[in-house]
């Protein structure tokens, strides 16, 4: 192949790339991408999402096995983490960057430019005034120019005219807004890559230390570094909740908070702190939020020899707004092994349709309904087991019982006993570390300032022209136009004309 053919291929490639870049960075493309981002986020609001409600996704996939699988292929259950969402997001980012930087350069030049000279025919402008004045000794043009300048206009004096312009802040604000927007996108992205988020359930009397192994679930960002985890810890002293009693919203939560003892490091002094909804604990760049709560019945299990094989408060998970809670207890040291499936009901009721259920979230009449199993818990099978589920495939049911606090269920045939000692409450905490948060907020504030300037500052031009007439007077014209659709042009031009009249007073034609 000849060198010239190569060259022309090269020019073609360059031309195509340039075309691609120009198209990508045009406002139309950015707008399209923006619209596309909005449309792309719609399925994320209509289908359950793994990030926020993983259980609902599992449920959906079970209910709609065929369509669910197809939807899943297209990432409909993790829209905001999907490659195509990221693609739109990144393209928008590039498009926006490519379009605002050249505008910044242009605006930089414009900021130092002079207002354009007066058009030939001022009377065609939408705001216009004219009058006759005597040619005076005062240099009208200079006087008017310095007066207008004092009113915040940028002025330029010509032979027979003054040109003025104001409202450059509009474009400055517009650029500020678009740059702030870029920065918001950047902060959101980098914050989630560098940060981490986890959840943990803590029972009253127990504690938590900020260490990956202590979390129930932990979701680090792609670039999260565990060595940045602050060494704080806390102990849950007391959880407190109140509920609406009576009325249409009976049982609705009214207040809850958790009293904890916090240490910023293992050796630090413990400090009492109250964590409530809307009042997270901020500690060393991390935030601890109270996100949920429930009950943990205290249960003692003895085996056939009367030996205590389990004594602890077991975390039960609430199933409804009235805290009908379910959980299990596993006693692998009993011979044979014992397992309990149970309901904890803070305000117990039983009926034929609903079975055992709670009618109010507060513990006014707590009760445990349990079914006790014996046999092989299956813990040695090597398959990891949920602490909230009992695998009864190799077990035999040995009885059902309901207990009030303090009561004991003696298992039949001397197989042991189960005592419901009382209950504790637990609180669940969400602990986040998001270094991009403050930056995103700051950029958001700048975006609002920029936006307000961009939309509310009027951009205007005004001119004054003097024309000598045959009878020795001069014709003074003041006119202006608005480069935007902001109101108030006529009033503003008439104020300028008013000030010009002080330097070139009107003469009445009768004189």
């Amino acid at each position: 192949m000849g060198g010239s053919a190569l060259m022309s291929l090269w020019t073609k490639i360059v031309a195509n790339l340039r075309w691609l870049w120009t198209s990508l960075t045009s406002m139309r493309t950015a707008l399209f991408l923006l619209f596309f981002l909005a449309v792309a986020s719609v399925p994320g609001s209509l289908f359950p999402q793994r990030g926020t409600s993983p259980l609902k996704v599992t449920q959906y996939l079970r209910d709609h096995p065929k369509s669910g699988a197809v939807l899943d292929k297209f990432h409909m259950f993790d829209v905001f983490a999907s490659p195509w969402f990221a693609a739109i997001y990144l393209l928008l980012f590039v498009s926006l960057t490519g379009c605002v930087i050249p505008r910044l350069v242009i605006h930089w030049k414009e900021l130092r430019s002079q207002p354009p000279s007066a058009p030939r025919n001022l009377s065609r402008l939408s705001a216009h005034e004219s009058w006759s004045a005597n040619a005076s000794d005062v240099d009208v043009l200079d006087a008017v120019a310095s007066d207008w300048k004092g009113r915040g206009w940028r002025v330029r004096v010509g032979d027979e005219w003054v040109a003025a312009e104001r409202g450059y802040a509009r474009e400055t604000g517009n650029l500020l807004f678009h740059f702030a927007l870029l920065f918001v996108l950047f902060s959101v992205g980098s914050g989630s890559a560098l940060g981490a988020k986890g959840n943990v359930i803590v029972r009253e009397g127990s504690g938590f230390a900020n260490n990956i192994t202590q979390y129930d679930t932990f979701a680090p960002g792609r670039m999260f570094d565990t060595s940045t985890m602050a060494p704080f810890s806390f102990q849950l002293k007391n959880f407190f909740a109140t509920y609406q009693l009576g009325g249409m919203q009976n049982g609705a939560p009214r207040e809850f908070h958790a009293d904890v003892l916090v240490k910023t490091s293992p050796t630090a002094q413990a400090k009492p702190v109250r964590i409530a909804v809307n009042k997270p604990l901020r500690i060393d760049g991390s935030s601890v939020y109270l996100v949920g709560h429930g009950y943990a019945p205290e249960i003692t299990v003895k085996d056939s020899n009367g030996k205590v094989v389990w004594k602890d408060a077991a975390v039960f998970l609430p199933q409804d707004g009235n805290f009908t809670s379910t959980g299990v207890v596993k006693a692998p040291d009993a011979v044979p092994q014992l397992g309990i499936q149970a309901f904890f009901l803070p305000t117990a009721a039983v009926d034929a349709v609903l079975g055992p259920h709670s009618t109010f979230p507060a513990p006014t009449d707590p009760m445990v309904f349990m079914s006790v199993w014996s046999g092989d818990l299956g813990l040695d099978s090597g398959v990891p087991q949920s602490v909230y589920r009992l695998d009864t495939s190799k077990m035999k049911k040995i009885g059902l019982e309901r207990l009030h606090p303090g009561e004991t269920y003696k298992l039949p045939k001397g197989q042991g006993s189960v005592t419901f000692d009382g209950y504790k409450e637990w609180a669940s905490f969400s602990i986040t570390h998001d270094p991009g948060k403050g930056w995103a907020l700051g950029a958001g504030m700048f975006a609002i300032v920029g936006l307000s300037m961009s939309l509310l500052v009027p951009r205007r031009r005004a001119w004054l022209r003097i024309t000598p007439t045959e009878n020795g007077t001069i014709l003074v014209e003041v006119a202006g136009l608005s480069k935007t659709e902001a109101p108030g042009l006529v009033a503003e031009i008439s104020a300028l004309a008013q000030s010009a009249r002080t330097y070139a007073p009107e003469v009445s034609h009768g004189d």
Partner: protein, 336 residues
């Protein structure tokens, strides 16, 4: 603290009061509209805008500053009845705004908190927002011709609130117990009210533009002519709608940011693509697209108006469909 039932009851009575005065306002505005005529005839508008240069467009800007000229309620010969009816409508609308405001006040006094805790209360607040936006805007210019298109939706909103959405006065669920709620919701209500007026103007724009285009083409003006003759010229409707949206968009941006500050404190993340947040984002993007569309020559007018209406439709979707049918963290409808 216990609920004060007297205030709760008074609050409900105020809603019925507002519905009564709004019904009166509806009748009065209907008469005002029927008796009104635009001052610039459709033919004149067509002649003016067919030479549509930048200057004439900006000419419309100046004309807008003289409200008596651009409104349709009265003509030189038909002065009187229509204007009187319009005045009655305006007064009744102010009264309705006061009644809904009192309803909110009493509700707040009854529950000892800001009265924005569930959908019933939001609907009352939204009705108040729309009425206030309209009343405040009408202080600067004559908007009697628009009244009918404001009071009918508000009447429907209040009716829906008191029947379907009604929730007893009660205290708040803890997540709503924050001063960011006050800031976020106040801003959102002001924006929602203004965007409702903006959407009404955009819809009327579509009517007026259609008729003007037909006349410009030399066709029969069609069945909407009777309405278009009673409205300002299309370009003015467009400009009014633009100014409302442009003025409110920064506040809407602020409302979204305030919401994310509140979300950060309540739920541990400032943005989590909760359905409600997703739709707030969609709405924001649509209005941003509207502003760009207005700035892009080929998109002025009809396309921009449709985008503005789509923005309001997204607000409505967020309000009714997402609140009631899509579950998320923002489940405060108070309905079960």
């Amino acid at each position: 603290m216990a609920i004060n039932e007297t205030f709760a009851h008074a609050s409900n009575i105020m809603v019925y009061g507002a519905m009564t005065t709004l019904t009166g306002a509806m009748g009065a505005f209907a008469i005002a509209l029927a008796k009104g005529r635009r001052l610039e005839s459709i033919e004149e508008t067509v002649a003016r805008t067919s030479s549509s240069s930048h200057q004439t467009r900006m000419g419309a800007t100046t004309t807008l500053e003289r409200p008596a000229v651009s409104t349709a309620v009265t003509t030189e010969d038909g002065l009187g009845e229509g204007r009187r009816a319009g005045n009655i409508g305006m007064s009744l609308t102010w009264l309705s705004a006061i009644f809904t405001g009192m309803s909110m006040l009493f509700r707040g006094l009854s529950a000892h908190r800001l009265p924005w805790g569930n959908m019933y209360e939001f609907s009352i607040a939204a009705g108040f927002g729309v009425l206030m936006a309209y009343c405040v805007m009408s202080l600067k210019r004559d908007l009697r011709w628009l009244g009918l298109f404001i009071v009918i939706p508000v009447l429907l909103d209040l009716g829906l609130a008191i029947t379907v959405l009604y929730t007893e006065s009660a205290q708040l669920v803890p997540a709503l117990n924050s001063y960011w709620l006050a800031i976020h919701v106040t801003a959102a209500i002001v924006c929602m009210g203004s965007f409702a007026v903006g959407a009404a103007l955009s819809a009327l724009y579509l009517v007026a533009e259609r008729v003007e285009l037909k006349v410009a083409d030399g066709q029969e003006p069609g069945r909407f002519a009777a309405l278009a003759e009673r409205l300002p010229a299309a370009d003015r409707l467009d400009l009014m709608a633009y100014r409302i949206h442009a003025f409110m968009f920064p506040l809407w941006t602020f409302a979204v940011i305030a919401g994310s500050i509140w979300a950060e404190a309540a739920w541990g993340r400032y943005w989590g693509w909760d359905p409600k947040e997703t739709w707030a984002f969609i709405t924001w993007v649509i209005y941003a697209a509207y502003l760009h569309a207005r700035a892009t020559a080929g998109w002025r007018g009809r396309k921009a108006a449709i985008v503005a209406i789509a923005g309001f439709a997204a607000i409505m979707f967020n309000y009714f469909i997402v609140n009631m049918y899509v579950s998320g963290l923002h489940s405060y409808s108070g309905l079960n």
